[in-house]
């Protein structure tokens, strides 16, 4: 019944940033690669009618159809997990390019502290600083080791930026200069300088100028069109796998890309992966694709789901803290933010770009002293101008009505007179936060959904309060007439959008007992299987994840090429 295809060198599951980078790097090195993507083909021509807020931002045109697959969620093990039936907290990518098509393009490196978080926290504050059930661990790679791969990703994507005064050391500057500065960005810069902080322009994958990358891919400059995050770029200006790495892979003639191909199992025998089993969603046909090496690049949830459904690796057991698959799920603490209302200043907030903004790292990582604070790490604080589209952006002071005459008046008044400062709070893993298979709910093929057990903890509540307070102080310095800021974080709520920065589940490390993959993202338990993505993060830093995802993908690609020649464990 299952159709068996001829064997290939490498099969990739999911073709977003992770899959696209792996495909381009391996095909350039002469390997034959089959790319299986469950969604559809994509190209820039599709975005002719893209400036449609309802269709793309509210009806999730480019995201995965939840009727076919979702996750279930509970705050703790005592609760019954229930399906995420509608989108809210985060969005699943789908189709060629994955979420890389509709991301903002804010492209940050993690801090050196992130990679050695456990040892450096203990070194500075002692063991007692880390709560017993907080399972932070070092990444098995240092900042200096990952730096060349960051550089590679940034040059491929053409990241526009200026040096972060408080960041890790760079081997080279950003390939393109920073984005333009809007009046609100200038205000943020001035205010944070007055407060003796260190502002810099958000590193951006929306190109500040035309750019040709080392692969010879040329792209136009960003037009600040304001339809960026949740939208595809009709100019091909935003770095996205479809306009960068995928054409490079295709050009080699060695990339066999198959869309509408939903992978359901990693096949294996005697501790080695032998290929994958997938369903052609247009015909329902089941197909086996044998391969010498298998690479999972299907985002955090599907990476974990495929491993567990295929019985690969040791499933995590929260009661003992043993096992690794599903361990250390973490997220992002973004609600510690503040909004300022200006009575007599007007801003062109309808204009913008996905990664347009100013940011400070004075309260990120261990850039500040935590001795008298009840949390570790921190997050960046940023003012962005991404284009305030009218359905989703109706800012009104918190004490005013949300509908009716007064609402209409306030929303019309404040729409162009409101600025927000947001935090990208880091998220620490806990023993009780993990991903496993749901016992009840199934996807469209009858496979169990991923079940998420996750909630905010004291660490998150304290961190969010802290970032909200700092955000408020900056808005005060900027001269806001009225400021609303978060007071209490409350429980994690899956219904409101926070970020698509889900991490963990197949984490990297130096020790096979406590991690699933080594620092080439090679499975400890199956050496010809590589699992790429933010699933490898042992915790989530105070930044958006994709620069780090991209860097790790380049590192993994290097490892896969090495492995294809010599075999064996790479670390």
């Amino acid at each position: 019944m299952v159709k068996k295809l001829p064997k290939t060198d490498v099969v990739i599951v999911g073709v977003g940033w992770g899959g696209g980078i792996i495909a381009s790097e391996l095909t350039k090195q002469g390997l034959n690669v089959v790319g299986l993507e469950k969604g559809q083909e994509r190209q820039t021509e599709d975005y002719y009618m893209v400036h449609d807020e309802l269709r793309y931002a509210l009806r999730y045109e480019l995201m995965q159809d939840l009727s076919k697959d979702t996750i279930t969620f509970r705050g703790n093990e005592k609760m019954r997990a229930l399906p995420m039936r509608q989108y809210g907290s985060f969005l699943f990518g789908d189709g060629l390019g994955g979420a890389g098509v509709h991301w903002n393009g804010q492209t940050f490196r993690f801090l050196p502290y992130d990679f050695n978080i456990r040892s450096q926290t203990i070194e500075r504050y002692g063991k007692g600083k880390i709560p017993t059930d907080m399972t932070i661990q070092d990444w098995g790679i240092t900042y200096d080791e990952i730096e060349p791969y960051y550089d590679k990703f940034e040059k491929m994507a053409g990241i526009s930026g200026e040096e972060n005064p408080l960041g890790g050391k760079r081997s080279d500057k950003y390939p393109t200069g920073p984005m333009k500065h809007t009046p609100s960005m200038k205000m943020f810069k001035k205010a944070t300088e007055n407060l003796k902080y260190h502002p810099y322009t958000i590193p951006s994958a929306n190109l500040s100028e035309p750019y040709t990358n080392p692969d010879g891919i040329a792209r136009a400059a960003c037009q600040y069109c304001a339809f960026c995050e949740r939208f595809g770029c009709e100019y091909g200006a935003k770095a996205d796998p479809v306009v960068t790495v995928i054409p490079v892979a295709k050009k080699t003639g060695k990339f066999d890309l198959r869309t509408h191909s939903w992978v359901r199992r990693v096949l294996h025998k005697g501790g080695r992966a032998t290929g994958v089993l997938y369903t052609d969603v247009t015909t329902g046909e089941e197909i086996e694709q044998p391969a010498d090496m298998v690479v999972l690049t299907s985002y955090v949830f599907n990476n974990v789901k495929l491993l567990l459904n295929s019985k690969v690796g040791r499933p995590y057991d929260s009661s003992t803290g043993t096992g690794v698959i599903g361990k250390n799920y973490a997220y992002q603490v973004v609600k510690g933010a503040a909004t300022g209302y200006f009575d007599d200043k007007k801003f062109n907030t309808f204009a913008g770009a996905g990664a347009l903004g100013m940011v400070i790292d004075d309260f990120n990582g261990d850039n500040f002293d935590h001795t008298n604070l009840n949390f570790i790490h921190g997050g960046y604080l940023a003012l962005t101008q991404t284009g305030a589209r009218p359905i989703a952006n109706n800012p009104i002071p918190s004490d005013s009505p949300t509908w009716g005459k007064e609402f209409k008046q306030n929303s019309l008044k404040y729409i162009n007179q409101t600025l927000s400062i947001g935090a990208m709070g880091a998220s620490m893993p806990y023993k009780q936060h993990y991903l496993d298979l749901d016992p009840v709910y199934k996807d469209t093929f009858g496979d169990p959904l991923i079940r998420m057990t996750y909630d905010f903890r004291d660490q998150d509540r304290e961190l969010a309060k802290f970032t909200a307070k700092k955000s408020k102080e900056i808005l005060q310095e900027m001269g806001a007439d009225k400021i609303d800021s978060m007071e209490e974080l409350g429980p994690y709520n899956i219904t409101t959008y926070q970020s698509t920065h889900n991490t963990g589940g197949v984490i990297m490390g130096a020790d096979p007992d406590t991690s699933a993959v080594n620092n080439y993202l090679q499975m400890w338990d199956m050496e010809n299987l590589f699992v790429v993505g933010a699933s490898a993060f042992p915790h989530n830093g105070g930044y958006n994840p994709t620069d780090t995802v991209g860097a790790l993908a380049y590192r993994a690609a290097e490892g896969i090429v090495k492995y294809s020649k010599n075999g064996g464990m790479l670390a």
Binding site: G75, A218, G236, Q409, K442
Partner: protein, 249 residues
């Protein structure tokens, strides 16, 4: 202010010229040449101008796909209370929001086509989100009936016959879950009514609401512009004549 007038009269030419210039790299380049070729004709003359020269065209979009006439009147009246006409400009009714909601409920959104609607259904915590088995279109029908019943019960009249204050009173009772309904959540219905109302006010006119972009005009929202490169750094607030997706055809 001269600049603004320029924006209006020459916006199309200006942005097209800019666009071509800024993208010339890519046009001659490898990756995206074909794409831009197809995008450039954007903003070419279409039949809008011709239509405007003639008489007022009948809006064929203004008929019902889903609601009954009575339900439609109630939706329209309720939406108008959520986003009322005032000195700033039209309210939901004049903006076509009733038709917008009707058309949305007739389509995939009304059917929750892209939501996970697989059983079993259990009551959950509010942090877990909507867990009901009812589709939006069903919630709407039930909610409207309940609103009608509640109006009769409290004020002895149907919703559309109530004074504005009474209508607001009914809507707040739904919004604050002061109404005793069993099949749906009263506040859940109100939230759906509110969110679809705002969608109808501010989505592209192609969906039937935001008629003549009047929703956008009230807040100086320029709609669908090709680029803002020229103004992005400007201190001055720009009032730009809005454009809609219709202008792409």
């Amino acid at each position: 202010m001269t600049e603004d007038k320029n924006e209006k009269s020459g916006a199309e030419n200006l942005s097209r010229r800019k666009f071509i210039r800024n993208s010339s790299y890519a046009v001659g380049g490898l990756a995206v040449g074909g794409v831009l070729g197809s995008v450039i004709p954007w903003g070419t003359e279409n039949d809008d101008q011709k239509q405007q020269a003639g008489k007022q065209i009948k809006n064929y979009n203004h008929a019902l796909m889903f609601f009954s006439q009575a339900e439609f009147q109630t939706v329209q009246a309720a939406a108008e209370r959520i986003f009322p006409e005032d000195e700033n400009g039209p309210g939901a009714k004049e903006l076509g929001v009733g038709f917008y909601i009707d058309h949305q409920m007739a389509g995939s959104y009304g059917f929750n086509a892209r939501d996970y609607m697989v059983p079993p259904f259990f009551h959950g915590e509010k942090e877990q989100g909507y867990q009901g088995r009812l589709k939006r279109r069903e919630i709407f029908k039930i909610g409207l009936r309940e609103m009608q019943n509640y109006s009769h019960q409290k004020f002895k009249k149907g919703f559309t016959e109530l004074s504005e204050e009474q209508q607001d009173n009914v809507l707040s009772d739904f919004a604050e879950d002061k109404v005793n309904v069993t099949t749906i959540s009263a506040s859940g219905f109100f939230d759906l009514l509110r969110s679809t109302t705002l969608e109808g006010v501010y989505s592209d006119p192609l969906y039937g609401g935001n008629i003549d972009m009047e929703g956008w005009k009230m807040r100086n929202y320029p709609g669908d512009q090709m680029n803002y490169t020229d103004i992005i750094e400007d201190d001055k607030f720009h009032e730009i004549e809005p454009r809609s997706l219709r202008d792409h055809m």
